[in-house]
């Protein structure tokens, strides 16, 4: 298992390099000009100097190499410094002082390091999208278990229908729908997520809860639809196995048979499915974030795109790719650990 993990980790390096080249070339081929917003009164030679100051004068491979060095060498240094200086867990370690003021990946919009902005935006995304993922899983698991246990019952049919709807209604419509119903007509919840809100006491916590309900609901519907389907299929696979009959025959209670024997075995594929979905927590909620005005990562990517902020777009897309590759690996390794029948080597 360890050799397999190491082999996969090593193999993921060329994969990630290739993905970064693809993204970089895609952005380089783009005809957009970052100087388009500069007033026309600025003379061309000054514009040229500004362009070179942004690092646009160098050949493509030099630009790519610089980005690579900044992302993989300088940014980790900054991160380690932050860990040993300000973080809660490692703050007691001596300050490493690795970072000595080299150029980091700079956003063209704000002229500040891209990673600083990402770190600012990450909590909002994690709160809203991560919470909705957890809520979705918590709803989906019981639905999947029960509809498999009572296959073709009324509950199962209803569950199938609801998850079909969850698959079919795109988030930009379900989001608008819940805004019209709960925010406009009923006036229960706000339609705009206020990210500056700070939770200090019970009342402000209730406000925070209120504003989180709508986006979480929209995102959780999709998670629920997917995971409950997988859970049902996986439970059905296991319910007809011989070991279930044995468990019943030796007189175990039905609840023990289903919730211990069958559930534990059917959770194996579900856990990998859940792991595979985690990257979408970080990047997939672009539409929902736009709709509810959550200024998270997805919204950051969208504004960066419209503002032609290539370093920001490059870095964000690459972070998403890293997460996808990483969680694919984690899912495969988890599957091997949880299911002793799987042997990779």
């Amino acid at each position: 298992m360890l050799t397999y993990t190491i082999r996969r980790l090593v193999l993921s390096i060329p994969t990630l390099l290739f993905i970064s080249i693809v993204i970089f070339l895609l952005l380089q081929l783009a005809p957009g000009d970052p100087m388009a917003q500069v007033p026309l009164t600025v003379p061309p030679e000054v514009k040229q100097q500004m362009r070179e100051a942004l690092g646009l004068g160098a050949p493509i491979h030099v630009q790519y190499w610089k980005w690579l060095v900044q992302f993989f060498w300088i940014e980790p240094q900054v991160f380690v410094d932050w860990l040993t200086r300000d973080s809660f867990f490692f703050g007691w370690l001596p300050d490493t002082n690795l970072y000595t003021g080299q150029l980091r990946v700079i956003s063209w919009q704000t002229r500040s390091p891209v990673m600083d902005i990402v770190v600012q935006r990450l909590p909002q995304t994690l709160w809203v999208v991560g919470m909705s993922y957890i809520v979705g899983i918590l709803i989906a698991l019981p639905i999947g278990i029960y509809s498999a246990y009572r296959q073709y019952s009324l509950f199962d049919q209803a569950g199938t229908f609801v998850s079909m709807i969850g698959f079919s209604i795109p988030p930009f419509f379900s989001g608008v729908l819940v805004i019209v119903i709960f925010s406009v007509n009923l006036g229960w919840f706000p339609s705009i997520y206020d990210t500056t809100h700070v939770v200090t006491d019970w009342a402000s916590f209730k406000v925070q809860l209120n504003q989180m309900i709508l986006p979480v609901m929209v995102l959780a519907l999709q998670t629920t639809a997917q995971i409950s389907r997988f859970m049902r299929a996986s439970m059905l696979d296991n319910l007809n196995q011989d070991y279930v009959r044995t468990a019943r025959a030796k007189g175990l209670k039905e609840s023990v048979v289903v919730l211990v024997h069958v559930l534990r075995n059917s959770m194996i594929p579900i856990i990998t499915v859940i792991a595979l979905g985690i990257p979408s927590i970080f990047g997939g909620a672009i539409i929902t974030e736009t709709l509810f005005k959550v200024n998270g990562i997805g919204q950051l990517l969208l504004t960066a795109l419209f503002a032609n902020d290539l370093p920001m777009v490059m870095t964000l897309t690459f972070i998403f790719a890293v997460l996808i590759v990483l969680f694919n690996l984690i899912a495969d390794v988890l599957y091997g650990i949880l299911d002793p029948r799987i042997r990779y080597d």
């Binding site: 005809p31 079919s168 988030p171 930009f172 419509f173 729908l177 996808i324």
Partner: protein
């Protein structure tokens, strides 16, 4: 002479009689008849297929029946409500000329919905066909030619680990200008959106087709075909492709659904077609700012998208059951 023959025939009947059936054999049934019989049992799939057919026909021949131009401005009759609002609000501004109302520039909503559906379905079908062709080609090549298997599957894995929605956004935003300049605003955008959706959604089809081909390749009929000297291309066309039609059809339905949703999502985020070219997603996103006063402008395109996708999903569900010979006949 004849007597002898008759006797011989009688003896033959006597000899093999035990092997013959007493009653005449059943009428031979074609495979597609079995498929259709199984498909008919799935009510959801039947309704879904019917609705998809209805929508496709409606957007195709709708403009011939409802001949109002979708781009015709009619400022005097702007902000009309649909006729059904009369049911609860008799003072609403409605008109039989505009059964589903008109938007803030007086364009007829029924006509824009038909035109938008036309664009959405065209994008969905073309992108799906493109993705299917790429996926099938790569899957067949990877499954049949052992030397291509490794590289092609690595390529598929690479594409699977690309962040799709961000890349779609990047590609559409960045390549909008040159394509528009070359092919005109609408055709350019159509090519771009169909292209990027097709290029980023063939991976599942390729994986499924490769798996099927790998299993089929080892069967005897392929060996027989090869032993009489059939060329690889002919084996693929004549023996392999007809046998992988059913998984391809199932992934076609999924592909159509995702293509329609992706196009609408792009339009919703404001990177889709130009603003005077309606698609369902565009209509929905244009109506969001005023959805409190005119909820129907959000609801109608949204419901149409959702119903189309829902019916396509049900159709795929039914097709999967009908095309699987292990489930069929139960």
């Amino acid at each position: 002479m004849t007597d002898q023959n008759v006797n011989a025939a009688a003896a033959e009947v006597e000899l093999y009689g035990a092997l013959k059936d007493k009653e005449p054999p059943k009428e031979p049934r074609s495979q597609w008849r079995d498929v259709w019989d199984q498909f008919r049992k799935h009510k959801g799939a039947l309704i879904g297929g019917g609705f998809l057919l209805f929508i496709t026909l409606a957007v195709l021949i709708g403009p011939l029946i409802w001949t109002v131009d979708a781009k015709q401005l009619d400022i005097r009759n702007k902000d009309m409500r649909p006729l059904y609002t009369l049911l609860w609000d008799s003072t609403a501004r409605t008109s039989w000329e505009k059964p589903l109302g008109s938007d803030n520039l007086g364009r007829d909503i029924l006509a824009t919905l038909i035109a938008g559906g036309r664009a959405s379905m065209a994008v969905g079908w073309t992108a799906m066909i493109l993705a299917l062709s790429i996926g099938t080609a790569i899957g067949v090549c990877a499954g049949y030619f052992r030397r291509l298997d490794g590289p092609l599957m690595r390529l598929t894995d690479l594409f699977l680990s690309l962040p799709i929605l961000p890349l779609l956004l990047v590609a559409v935003t960045l390549f909008r200008q040159p394509l528009r300049a070359n092919f005109g605003p609408e055709t350019g955008m159509f090519i771009l959106i169909v292209g990027v959706i097709g290029i980023t959604s063939w991976m599942q089809t390729a994986r499924i087709v490769r798996g099927e081909i790998l299993a089929l390749k080892e069967r005897e009929f392929i060996l027989a075909a090869r032993s009489i000297g059939t060329t690889p291309f002919k084996i693929i066309r004549r023996h392999l492709l007809p046998n992988v039609v059913s998984p391809i059809m199932v992934s076609a339905t999924l592909g159509l659904a995702t293509a329609i949703i992706t196009e609408s999502a792009l339009s919703f985020l404001g990177v889709g077609f130009p603003s005077d070219f309606p698609t369902w997603g565009k209509l929905l996103s244009d109506a969001v700012p005023r959805m409190e006063e005119f909820p129907e402008r959000v609801m109608l395109p949204g419901i149409l998208i959702s119903l189309t996708v829902l019916s396509v999903n049900y159709l795929g569900d039914g097709l999967r059951d009908a095309l699987d010979p292990r489930i069929r006949g139960r």
